[in-house]
């Protein structure tokens, strides 16, 4: 097929190759830690404006130039996040790698941690050096038992090679990295909940403002929280330079992204693509092998279970910039949506954590939503009433619909609850996360819900 889309593996370049092992020797043979060593050796450099930038300042500038957006779900620009940290503060600055991968449909961090842990450690080293960090944490979800062991081994290797600890590589920089295991709570992926958890408390998210981690984070100190994939991307930004990295992907959403495709496809898996250079259709058909024989597409959840569902047959209006800079509008079908933030936003959803879940015509929209709602009811931390009660009510209503005990008013009830949880009524974005699936499934598959709640004839 001529237009078959190809992966663009940068972060995943080596890790599935035969003979590639997660040890330091193998990583080094593939050029590992060379970027960090270059970063550490950066001399102060003058800018065209006559400013002198230290090595860390140069790294921060490259990350800002790259336009790299966070890969954990919110998509906030990494360089901007870093710029909120007061580097002149006399308090310690902490870096936390968020490896609490728990958004249903997402399994990319697991691949990096298991198969290429040193790439993550190099990313952490570069990010930490750039931001005057001397203590970093990897918050890894509790169920990644083997992943935590692999990281501990890799950190020991790095320490043994002088890449970690005191006076790293004889250049006077100190960094410790501590692997911290969670214990099965999704809310710990929320950065302020994560920080509470890392302090040894229940992971109740903190209210922003004032508790932006960059300002008042771990132990009320400036703290950077970045996702596993983001930190790996930082390594590649540092290696390539921000401007080169920004040439990948699309303006406003540069680089590559690891997209996880699961659900009812023939070859579920993780695929690293240039952002916006593959459509949902190419991801699902070319890379994930398409649907099972005889099946047709029903719906796609494009960015983890929190993302609003997209229904097959829908048409979206996308804006494109012509070469002369003028914006034109084009209609796109679901499978023609380029996989980037702006396109998914135009379709009313999001790339989120980069997780696509595919539903074919054998799936029931009610069952799928009930499954998602059970997840959120289980994972709501319980701090805010609208979320604690609302997520549970939605779960209970959906269960009773599944048991064919639903009432005609239940569809409206679901909609009303789902519209009354989010929008600033909760401390964190979990309120949105548990409501968006309900809002979108009920709006788009209302017939299925009404059919199951209709009184018997």
């Amino acid at each position: 097929m001529p237009n078959m889309i190809q992966e663009r593996r940068i972060i995943l370049e080596h890790l599935d190759r035969a003979g590639y092992t997660p040890d330091l020797g193998c990583y080094r043979r593939h050029g590992g830690y060379a970027t960090f060593e270059r970063c550490l050796a950066l001399e102060p450099a003058a800018t065209p404006e006559g400013q002198t930038l230290s090595g860390p300042e140069q790294i921060r500038l490259e990350v800002r130039r790259s336009g790299l957006r966070g890969r954990g779900g919110a998509g906030f620009p990494c360089g901007v996040k870093w710029s909120f940290v007061n580097l002149d503060s006399d308090r310690p600055i902490y870096l936390i790698c968020n490896a609490d991968e728990s958004e249903p449909g997402t399994f990319k961090d697991r691949q990096i941690i298991h198969k290429d842990p040193h790439q993550l450690i190099e990313g952490i080293l570069i990010a930490a050096y750039a931001n005057r960090v001397h203590q970093a944490f990897i918050y890894i979800r509790g169920e990644f038992i083997e992943g935590a062991r692999i990281l501990d081994r890799a950190l020991d290797e790095a320490r043994g090679a002088g890449l970690l600890g005191r006076d790293i590589l004889g250049r006077g920089y100190d960094l410790e990295i501590c692997v911290h295991r969670g214990a099965g709570a999704y809310i710990c992926g929320e950065e302020t909940g994560l920080i509470e958890s890392l302090e040894g408390r229940r992971p109740y998210p903190r209210i922003k403002p004032p508790y932006y981690p960059a300002v008042l984070g771990l132990y009320q100190c400036p703290t950077i929280v970045n996702n596993v994939e983001t930190l790996c991307a930082v390594k590649h930004v540092a290696a390539m330079g921000g401007n080169e990295y920004a040439k990948l992907g699309v303006p406003g959403d540069p680089g590559t992204r690891i997209v996880c495709v699961s659900g009812q496809v023939r070859r579920p898996g993780y695929f690293e693509i240039e952002i916006g250079k593959a459509t949902l259709g190419q991801l699902i058909h070319d890379l994930a092998g398409g649907l099972h024989p005889g099946r047709s597409l029903k719906a796609v959840i494009p960015g983890g279970s929190s993302a609003k569902v997209l229904r097959a047959g829908e048409k979206y209006k996308l804006k494109f910039a012509r070469p002369d800079g003028k914006e034109i509008e084009r209609e796109a079908a679901l499978l023609d949506l380029p996989y980037d933030s702006a396109s998914l936003a135009a379709a009313g959803s999001m790339c989120g954590s980069g997780a696509i879940v595919v539903l074919d015509d054998s799936a029931s929209a009610v069952e799928a939503l009930a499954n998602i709602a059970e997840f959120y009811a289980h994972e709501s931390c319980g701090q805010c009433t609208p979320c604690r009660e609302g997520s549970l009510w939605m779960h209970k209503i959906l269960q009773r619909i599944l048991r064919r005990q639903g009432r005609p008013a239940d569809v409206d009830n679901l909609e009303r609850i789902a519209h009354n949880i989010p929008g600033g009524r909760t401390v964190c974005a979990f309120g949105e996360a548990c409501s968006w699936p309900v809002q979108s499934f009920v709006a788009k598959f209302g017939d299925e819900f009404r059919q199951m709640t209709a009184p018997p004839p």
């Binding site: 449909g105 399994f107 099965g184 999704y186 993780y270």
Partner: protein, 181 residues
Amino acid sequence: MNTPSSASPAAGCLRIPPALEAAVAERIARYPQPRGAALMVLHALQDHFGFLSNEAIEWAAARLGVQPMQVLELATFYPMFRQEPPGRFHFKICRTLSCALAGSLALHARLCDRLGLDPASHGPQTTADGRFTVELVECLASCHTAPVLFCNQTFCEKATPEQVDRMIEECRSAPPEADGS
């Protein structure tokens, strides 16, 4: 607050081997404040004892410099912690969307059926002989190899009903000394 564990009568019943004591101390030393190590300490205690008893919670609280209540509220919040001993073989089956679409609920039902447990119950259930615990858990982040499950610390991907049957047989025929694989 550095209350020795023997200060509490209940904690006095707890036998903490020196290796565990050392591992806990080493963990705590990695954190800017002892309390930060709470989850790591609870993991270490649960790995050793199989669950978190009140005595273990009091012991951890003393080490972490907090009140037992402040540790208990963690033990009751985080799904991975248990306050009752689980069965010798603990099955955790992922119930979230991609695994459910791949048949994980049927695997759970099959396990329950074979072991005389209630397939409609999603929470942990232990067989009367204390041999098996079965529960559904939320997304285990391996959706491309769905359905997935844990049997103790062994992670099983693309699990099939036949495989689950075999696992039960293997557990049943495991010699008593091969505990907690």
